[in-house]
C-alpha cells in the first residue's frame, strides 16, 4: 500500500529530515512511527500526503508514484488518505455533523451521500447523540473522535495520524486507540506517529523507529523502546 525507496528530504539550511529511508507497508497494516522530536516522523507523514516532496527517492501509494503526480491530481490522492491531527483542527462554528459533512461537501459529494454517510460514521465513532453539538461543547476525546470521523467518512485506503493522543489523558487515549484499531480492522492501513509509549506497548503492532531521519528499527509486534 505504501512504499518508500531511498527517500531523502532536506529542509532549508541543509537540515536533513529524512535520510535514505526505505520501507514497505502492506494493505491493512497498523504501523507506529516512533522516535524523539525532530527525528522525521511528521515529515514522513507529510510526504505520504504530498504536502512535501522528497529531494531524492520515490514514494508509492497504492502502487502510484506520488512524486510524479501533477498538482491537479494531488487532491484526488488525498481523497484516499485520511488525516488525523494532534490538535483536532475542528471548525468551531460548525456542529459535529457539519464538521464531518464538510469533508464530503468540499470534494463535491451530494446531499444524498452526505445524509447517508455522516450519521453512519458518527455511529461508528460513538457520537450519534452529539451530532448537533459544537466542538467547544465536547471533551478532548470527543473532539478527536470527530476529527477521526471526518478523516474516515470518505472511507480512505490509508489513515495518517500525527500524535492523535498527544493532547489527551491516558484513559481517553485508550478509547481513541480502540477506535483506530476498529478502523484498521475494516481494512484501512493506519500509520500513526506518536510519543505515547503506553499506547504503543499496549497495541503490539509494527513499530518503525526513526532517529535523525533514519530508520533505526523496524519491528513487527514491537514496543516503544
Amino acid at each position: 500500500m505504501i512504499k518508500m525507496e531511498k527517500v531523502t528530504k532536506v529542509f532549508k539550511g541543509d537540515v536533513v529530515a529524512l535520510r535514505d529511508v526505505t520501507i514497505d507497508i502492506g494493505k491493512g497494516e497498523f504501523v507506529f512511527l516512533v522516535g524523539p522530536s525532530g527525528s522525521g516522523k511528521s515529515t514522513f507523514i507529510r510526504l505520504l500526503n504530498r504536502e512535501d516532496v522528497p529531494e531524492h527517492g520515490r514514494i508509492f501509494v497504492a502502487g502510484r508514484d506520488i512524486g510524479g503526480l501533477s498538482g491537479w491530481r494531488v487532491p484526488y490522492l488525498r481523497r484516499n488518505i485520511g488525516y488525523v491531527f494532534q490538535d483536532f483542527k475542528l471548525l468551531q462554528k460548525k456542529t459535529v455533523a457539519e464538521n464531518v459533512a464538510f469533508a464530503l461537501e468540499v470534494i463535491g459529494k451530494g446531499p444524498q451521500v452526505i445524509n447517508r454517510q455522516v450519521p453512519a460514521i458518527l455511529e461508528l465513532v460513538g457520537l450519534s447523540r452529539k451530532m448537533d453539538r459544537f466542538p467547544r461543547e465536547l471533551s478532548g476525546g470527543e473532539q478527536q473522535r470527530v476529527s477521526i470521523a471526518r478523516a474516515f467518512v470518505n472511507r480512505p485506503l490509508i489513515l495518517l495520524a500525527d500524535e492523535p493522543t498527544g493532547n489527551l489523558d491516558p484513559t481517553t487515549s485508550v478509547g481513541i486507540m480502540r477506535l483506530l484499531e476498529r478502523i484498521n480492522e475494516i481494512g484501512t492501513t493506519v500509520v500513526m506517529a506518536t510519543h505515547d509509549s503506553s499506547v504503543v506497548d499496549s497495541m503490539r503492532q509494527r513499530v518503525v523507529e526513526l532517529d535523525r531521519g533514519m530508520v533505526v528499527r523496524d519491528q513487527a509486534r514491537g514496543v516503544y523502546e
Binding site: N49, Y76, R78, A103, V106, R150, N154
Partner: protein
Amino acid sequence: MFSFRYVLRETGQNLWRNILLAVATVVTVGVSLAMFGGFMLFQVAVDSATARWQDGVEFIVWMNTDAGTDEDSSVRNQLDESPGVDRWEYIDRQQSYEEFKEFFEDTPEVLEIFTAEGVPPYYRVVPTDPDPDVVEELGSQFKGKPGVRTVTFAGDVIRDVQNLSNRAGRVLFIGSIVLLGASTLLILNTLAVAIGNRRPEIEIMRLVGATKWFIRVPFMLEGLVQGLLGAIVAMISNSLLRNYVIDQFSDADGLQLLAGFKVDDAAMLQVNLLVVAIAVGVAVIGSNLAVAMHLNE
C-alpha cells in the same frame, strides 16, 4: 464536480462576514466606475454636440438644396485646387438628413416640417492652417459662389467647448484610472481578509482533497460580486447624470451650441456595457492577485 449550492453559500457567507469591507469596496468600485462612466458620457455628449466639427474641421460650406451638378463641381474643384485646404468631405443630402434627424430626435415637431429634400448637403473642410484669420479668409472665398448657401466656421466657442471637454475628460479619466487601481487593491485586500478568516477551513479542504478551483471559486466569485455591485452603482449614477445633467443642458433655452449635447440610448448602452466589462476586469484582476498571493493550495 462543483456543488453550486456550496459555492453560492460560501460566497454569501464570505461577503456577510466582511460586510463593512465589502461595502467599502463596492462603493469605491462604484465611484471609480461612475467617474469613468461620467467621462465617457460627457465625451459622447460633446461629440454629439460638435459632431460636424470633429477631426480638425474648421468651416463648413453649405450648398443650396437645389444646387446643380455644375455648381457642385465648381466648389469641389476649388476645394481640390486650394493650397489652404488639407482635405474635405462631402455630406450628401441623405447623410445630412440622417444627421439632422439625430440632432433633432427629441423635437419631433421640427422633424415633421423637414424632409430629406429640405435639408442641404455640405462640405466639411479641414484647412492646412487652423489659424482663425487664415480659416476666415479661406472660407470666405466660398461665400457667394453659385450654389453655395452659406459658410459657417467652427469658431472659438466650439473649440473652447472641445478643449474644455478634453481637459475635463483627461482629469476624469486619470481620476477614474487611479480609483480603479485602488478598487483592484481594495478587492485584493477584502479577499485577503476573507482568506485569512477562513484559513482553518482552507487547510482542512486541502487535506481532505478539495481541488484548487473548489477552494478558489468562492473567493473569486466574492470579488466578482463586489465588482458587479460597483457596476450597478455606476450605472445608476450614469443614468442620473444623463437624465438630470446632460439632458438639462440640451433643453436649456438660448444655448444653441448645446442643442446636440445629449447621449442617445445606444451610446448609453455601450457606456454601461463598458462599465460592466471594466468592473469584471477589475474584479478578475483583484481576485486572481488575492488567490495567487494569499491562497497557497
